[in-house]
Amino acid sequence: MIEAIIGVVLMAAGVGFIVIAGLGVARLTDVFERMHSATKAGGIGSTLVILGVLTAGGLARPLTGLLTIAFMLLTLSVASQLLARAAYISGAELRGIDRGDPLADVLESDRPTRSDPR
């Protein structure tokens, strides 16, 4: 009984995080702000929902759920880093920052793509 209540609380918290992440994806002004909302809040929301399901459904064979959680926590940051870099290079606007472009000298424009065969 107590684990069902804990599971429901975890699942409700996770769904709340996902709803907030969806609001951020729809409402924020910038590609990078939307990515920040979707990756962090969406990832923690999915993790909490899976944890709640594992807690409420009995801990007999939790291996798949725990593997999913570990995989998501490991790969969401890498994937969002890759996507943010690609978005910046492809010329996305930085509307959320009003102090210019802090990456102007780090990732220069017209960088050569790695197309040379070796």
């Binding site: 069902a4 996770g14 996902i18 969806g22 999915s46 009995g58 492809s90």
Partner: protein, 93 residues
């Protein structure tokens, strides 16, 4: 024993339609390709949570495997889309 959780799962699934609709709005509306990829990330997070809740609501543990498959596909898809976006773009203005 865990009747509360099984009863709560369909309600939470119904609530999850809201972020699904918001991500779909961003995917349709999004000005650039990067916005659409971000919306795809959001859709994946929602669908992993949906599959986990479906596993609880129906009592079939195979839906957890489906969630894991969605997470795996999302990582590879995001990496591939990022590489595509980086190669197709003509550089920052």
């Amino acid at each position: 024993m865990n009747g509360i959780a099984v009863a709560a799962a369909p309600i939470l699934i119904a609530v999850l339609v809201v972020p699904l609709a918001l991500a779909a709005y961003r995917m349709i509306r999004g000005p650039s390709h990067a916005d659409r990829f971000v919306a795809l990330d959001m859709l994946t997070a929602v669908s992993v949570a949906l599959s986990a809740l479906t596993a609880l609501a129906t009592g079939r543990r195979a839906f957890l495997d489906i969630g894991m498959g969605i997470a795996l596909v999302n990582f590879v898809a995001t990496c591939a889309f990022a590489t595509l976006l980086e190669r197709k773009s003509g550089g920052r203005k």
